[in-house]
């Protein structure tokens, strides 16, 4: 299995975004090149119930198009303000139908006050089967 590299400045952006929006879930798009996250763009969470659902707004989709146009592989991130950094049944149902096999970065803030945020990487296939990707924080 390949190791996904996440540069620290982007990881910091991710944590900042998740914390700022608490208790809402946040979401955004990632651009990857050769298994390394090179871009992280916030999307507005347009869900009617953002504490328990997330969905991109049109600007978010435009960012997806933009990163694709730049030749980057698309990844998606979202936060779990209170639960484990693991795809929920809802996440699996949605992603298996829409973005199967796409890299999913998930940040959980469930223990943020004590042990800090947790970030994990997954892919969800068309059958909703989740596989864990190794994730490494790298400098710059």
């Amino acid at each position: 299995m390949m190791m996904i590299e996440l540069p620290r400045p982007l990881a910091d952006d991710l944590v900042r975004h998740a914390r700022e929006a608490q208790p809402d879930e946040v979401c955004g798009v990632l651009g990857l090149r050769a298994e390394r996250v090179v871009r992280l763009e916030r999307a507005r969470n347009a869900a009617a119930t953002p504490t328990v659902r997330f969905t991109f707004d049109d600007d978010g989709y435009r960012r997806v198009m933009q990163l694709e146009r730049e030749g980057l592989e698309i990844g998606i991130y979202h936060s779990h303000p209170a639960s484990a950094p693991y795809p929920s049944a809802t996440d699996r149902a949605e992603m298996s139908a829409t973005w199967p096999d796409c890299l999913q970065l998930m940040i959980s803030l469930r223990h943020d006050a004590t042990t800090g945020p947790e970030v994990k990487a997954y892919r969800i296939d068309r059958n909703g089967v989740v596989s864990v990707e190794d994730l490494a924080l790298v400098d710059g």
């Binding site: 879930e25 119930t49 694709e68 146009r69 639960s83 809802t90 996440d91 992603m95 829409t98 096999d101």
Partner: protein
């Protein structure tokens, strides 16, 4: 379906294919189309690449709700939908929705929306409620409002223990049961009412008399015990069993126009710390003997539900080390401080009662006839060391 308009070979638009669809387009990220409308362009693609149609449209031919289409970065919903005309050089982008969310179903999000809005509950708290297991002792006057409010709040599992059947005289206050339920087992009637109120709740019906032989086994399976018994032997039994297992108990009692509620948490006192011995037999009349104002258990049982929810969520100050007294006639609530008694025979520093005892003998009360029956039925299966205790409904 939108008819395509042919504008000749000069018209060439590009369709951007998202990553998840590229396995169907021979890995191409951009495909040229010549149809004059968005709908036509999508059909042109579907005709060329097998399998793509199902990814774009449902069985009725409508675009899937999770497929977003843009023309030059404008969502087609803001244009003319699939009828949007394409000009030479336009770029059509197909982007599957990016969405997900919590374990809550849409139904649960709506049902619990007022909880989800509260900072002290929110999704985390709601999940705690949904994961909680609460045992209600008695499906009567106190158990009824407690069960209904706990169910409405979304407590995941409610155990209910009662041996009684619904009687006409229960209906004046036991709001779990309806007139049609007369003669039904209370636990069955309770299960139906709770199911109608909130089908998300898992109800575990225990149609039995709580006694010294089964109390520990039953209590073990739950996080919090809500006590709605109406007699002293059962009250002492429930107290002792909860202390021995280290379970928190939300206790209550009612009498005519007065009620009391307290929360006994392990290490912070118990019912015996306040009342080491039962009153002499006959000194305190039961509801059946003395009567009770019907709405009184409604208020007191609702306070029990509230305290239980606070304990599950870990918010506020539950009535731990406190005794709430309610006088329905003067409409006064008073709170007294209570203390753990280091000499308490069950929760004190040197407990003398370390196993469940004979609670009828302890209270000087003869066994009700139902117990004799249950005992006879159980006699064959095992030998008991202690007498059973009736759990009736207040």
């Amino acid at each position: 379906m939108v008819a395509s308009v042919t504008v000749g070979e000069t018209m060439t638009a590009k369709v951007y294919i998202p990553t998840p669809f590229r396995s169907l387009t021979e890995k191409q990220a951009r495909v040229e189309v010549h149809s004059g409308t968005v709908g036509g362009a999508l059909d042109e693609l579907a005709a060329r690449f097998p399998g793509l149609r199902e990814r774009l449209r449902d069985a009725q031919g409508a675009l899937h709700g999770y497929v977003n289409v843009y023309v030059n970065s404008q969502p087609i919903d803001d244009l003319q939908g699939e009828g949007t005309a394409l000009k030479d050089g336009d770029e059509v982008s197909i982007i599957p929705a990016v969405a997900g969310g919590d374990i809550f179903t849409e139904e649960q999000v709506k049902r619990y929306s007022r909880h989800l809005l509260l900072a002290d509950v929110g999704p985390l708290g709601q999940r705690k409620l949904m994961n909680a297991r609460v045992l209600l002792i008695g499906a009567g006057g106190l158990g009824s409002p407690a069960a209904l409010y706990l169910a409405a709040a979304g407590v995941g599992t409610l155990g209910i223990v009662d041996f009684d059947v619904v009687d006409h005289s229960n209906l004046q206050r036991q709001i779990l049961h309806q007139t049609d339920d007369i003669g039904k087992l209370k636990v069955e009637s309770a299960k139906e009412s709770i199911g109608a109120m909130n089908p998300n709740v898992n109800v575990e019906a225990h149609n039995m008399i709580l006694d010294s032989t089964n109390a520990l086994e039953l209590f073990k399976q739950y996080d919090i015990i809500v006590n709605g018994v109406d007699n002293f032997p059962a009250r002492y039994l429930a107290n002792d069993a909860a202390v021995m297992l280290g379970k928190t108990m939300v206790d209550a009692g009612i009498n005519q126009f007065e009620g009391m509620v307290s929360v006994y948490q392990p290490g912070q006192g118990c019912y015996r710390c306040l009342y080491p011995a039962p009153p002499p037999p006959g000194a305190v009349q039961s509801c059946a003997e003395a009567g009770v104002l019907g709405v009184l258990p409604g208020i007191v049982g609702s306070v029990q539900a509230l305290e239980t929810i606070k304990l599950i969520l870990g918010i506020g100050e539950p009535l731990i080390g406190k005794l709430l007294l309610f006088d329905a006639l003067t409409m006064e609530f008073r709170t007294l401080r209570t203390r753990r008694d280091p000499a308490c025979p069950v929760c004190g520093d040197h407990p003398t009662i370390t196993a469940l005892i004979d609670y009828h003998e302890f209270c000087g009360i003869p066994q009700p006839p139902e117990l004799v029956e249950q005992r006879a039925a159980e006699e064959d299966s095992h030998v008991r060391e202690a007498e059973p205790v009736a759990v009736g409904a207040s």
